[in-house]
């Protein structure tokens, strides 16, 4: 297991390096000079030259690459030009909003997905089972940004039950949670489908197991068998599925943040692209990628710990 963990972590470091190289070459290839773009058309040549020097753009390519590369590993992602603050600080300020959104998405998907999958497995073949099956496929298929816009249209604009924009008053937890309901539904709805399918499949397997048969033979109530003895085991694969899910929810979170005008990493990158604030784009994309890689490594390590076949196949 240790061997597998070291290999997996090593691969993650290599992957992040390759990703960093791709990012750097992408930014380097952008037509136009980031300094003059950031300063706008009215900047004097002296101002551009000064900013170029401060951003390190006057150095040879390989020095620039080394600065970017070595800086990134120590958390130095450069200076954000507009506010003159470190990129990492700006990105880290927005990260909690995105993480809260993803946590909300997980809450929705677990709170709806596990009971639905459980019910479908217990009433296998019934109309309810088929309905859950069709709905699961449907919510997986519909893009999250369409869910976000329609949730906003129905619950915020037409019914006016919930707020439409922002993240709520700072310090007012209740207000912040109300602002979280709709965006996190958009992030988590597709995963209700994945989790319901997963729980149903593993519940069907577990319900056939001998310890369940024994519990039935002892005459335990069906409800207790289902929830206490079957679900507690059947839920394990879902945990690892969520590991992969968190990474993908990052993508949906970008849309949810833009639709609901919430602060967060996605909104940050989107606005940075519109204002051509390239150091911020690279920094935020890099932080998200590292987060994504780390979450996937953790998920892989959990799967590896549970299933020895994964380890040997590496």
């Amino acid at each position: 297991m240790l061997n597998y963990a070291i290999k997996r972590l090593g691969l993650a470091v290599v992957i992040v390096s390759v990703a960093m190289t791709l990012l750097f070459s992408m930014i380097y290839l952008i037509p136009g000079d980031p300094a003059s773009v950031a300063l706008g058309p009215r900047a004097t040549p002296e101002m551009v030259a000064a900013l170029r020097a401060r951003m390190g753009l006057d150095q040879p390519v390989w020095v620039q690459f080394w600065n970017f590369y070595s800086g990134a590993w120590t958390g130095d992602l450069g200076i954000e030009v507009l506010s003159n603050r470190p990129v990492l600080t700006v990105v880290m300020e927005q990260l909690p909003f995105t993480l809260a959104l993803i946590a909300g998405g997980i809450t929705w998907s677990v709170a709806l997905g596990i009971p639905l999958g459980c019910m479908a497995a217990v009433r296998r073949g019934s109309f309810a089972d088929r309905l859950v099956g069709v709905l699961s496929v449907a919510v997986i298929a519909v893009p999250s940004f369409v869910v976000a816009i329609y949730a906003l249209l129905i619950f915020a604009v037409a019914l006016q039950w919930l707020p439409a924009i922002g993240a709520g008053e700072p310090g007012d937890l209740g207000d912040q949670l109300t602002h979280l309901i709709l965006p996190s539904l958009a992030v988590g709805l597709g995963w209700v489908g994945y989790i319901a399918r997963m729980v149903r499949a593993s519940m069907l397997e577990v319900l056939e197991a001998s310890h369940i048969r024994t519990a039935r033979a002892f005459g335990l109530p069906e409800r207790q068998i289902t929830y206490r003895y079957a679900l507690s085991i059947a839920i394990l694969p879902t945990v690892t599925l969520l590991g992969i899910g968190i990474g993908q929810m990052l993508s949906s979170a970008v849309f949810a943040e833009i639709v609901f005008a919430r602060p967060g990493i996605g909104k940050l990158v989107y606005d940075a692209i519109l204002t051509r604030n390239y150091p911020l784009v690279t920094g935020a994309v890099l932080v998200t990628t590292v987060l994504f890689v780390v979450i996937n490594v953790i998920a892989d390590l959990i799967i590896g710990a549970l299933d020895p076949r994964v380890r040997s196949g590496f």
Binding site: L11, V14, I15, V16, V18, A19, L22, L23, M26, I27, L29, I30, V134, V137, A138, I140, A141, V142, P143, F145, V146, I149, Y150, L152, L153, V157, A158, A201, G247, Q248, L250, S251, V254, F255, I258, V259, G266, V269, Y270, I273, R276, Y278, V281, T282, V285, T288, T289, F292, V293, N296
Partner: protein
């Protein structure tokens, strides 16, 4: 499906049998009807909608749905029904086109990784894993800074998202076939690697990957619509469902019919292709069941 039609006569029996089994599944029938509806609407867009999709008419701004404008008009007075039908063309062309291109690239790279030298395999796998490590939307946003908003950017994003997965599947299957007896026999008779891959490996690995790729079509449609919604994909005035959503989103409080016109086609199309794909997969190849 078109590839089934172009198959040799011996296969027609299997095609008929598949169709008959598909038509027994209510969900398959539902998916197939939606797909036919969407494809038909896109193909006959010019006949079905008399209005010009990009013609601006300032006097007709923000008209709600009526007999003249079945889905109403947008902030520039353009007929939404025409824009939705023509937007379907863009969505389907981008989806099918970029899926075919990623399939071709994926197959070639997968065959090279699986059959070629070990070091090349290792490099390719590393690049695939690195590409997969970017969250899709972040990858799209980063690429748009490079290319600028365009259809090209959408196609490149789709290729970068799809190719690693396809190539990996082809690679695994190629490695499994590499040591099979008939490939060893062909090698000993002096067949070149290109001939072995083309004649002996490719026909055996291509079937499942085509089914998997066709199941990705709704995902690709979502990528195009999503990027166009953010203003990073198809450029105005070209009609696109995502762009219509973007127009409508800006006016969601006063003119809700615009977001409805932009979003409902996306929902119907993704549902149609997904239901059809799920049913076809179960009918064609039960081994693939449970993927995803």
């Amino acid at each position: 499906m078109s590839e089934a039609v172009s198959e040799p006569p011996a296969e027609v029996g299997t095609f008929r049998r598949t169709m008959r089994r598909l038509l027994r599944e209510p969900l398959g029938v539902f998916g197939l009807s939606l797909v036919i509806l969407v494809v038909g609407a896109a193909v006959f867009a010019d006949l079905l909608a008399s209005a010009e999709p990009s013609r601006i008419s300032p006097r007709d701004r923000f008209l709600p749905p009526s007999a003249d404008h079945l889905m109403g008009t947008d902030q520039l007075g353009r007929d939404l029904f025409a824009r939705v039908l023509h937007g379907g063309r863009i969505a389907l062309l981008v989806a099918v086109g970029s899926t075919v291109v990623s399939l071709l690239i994926g197959i070639v790279l997968g065959l090279i990784a699986g059959y070629g030298p070990r070091w090349l395999d290792n490099i390719l796998i590393l690049v695939f894993d690195a590409l997969k490590s970017f969250p899709t939307v972040m990858l799209a946003l980063a690429l748009v800074t490079l290319f600028g908003p365009s259809l090209t950017a959408v196609v490149v994003v789709v290729i970068l998202v799809n190719v690693p997965g396809y190539a990996r599947i082809i690679r695994t299957q190629t490695i499994a076939l590499k040591s099979s007896e008939y490939v060893t026999a062909a090698q000993s008779m002096g067949a070149s690697p290109a001939r072995i891959l083309r004649v002996h490996v490719l026909p055996n690995v291509v079937g499942p990957i085509v089914i998997l790729a066709s199941m990705d079509i709704p995902v690709v449609i979502a990528i195009e619509a999503g990027m166009s919604f953010l203003g990073l994909g198809v450029r105005p005035p070209t009609p696109s469902w995502g762009a219509i959503l973007n127009d409508g989103f800006a006016n969601i409080r006063e003119s809700a019919w615009i977001v409805i016109a932009g979003g409902v086609p996306i929902i119907l199309t993704t549902l149609g292709f997904t239901f059809l794909g799920e049913t076809l997969r179960d009918v064609f190849d039960p081994r693939l069941k449970g993927r995803g």
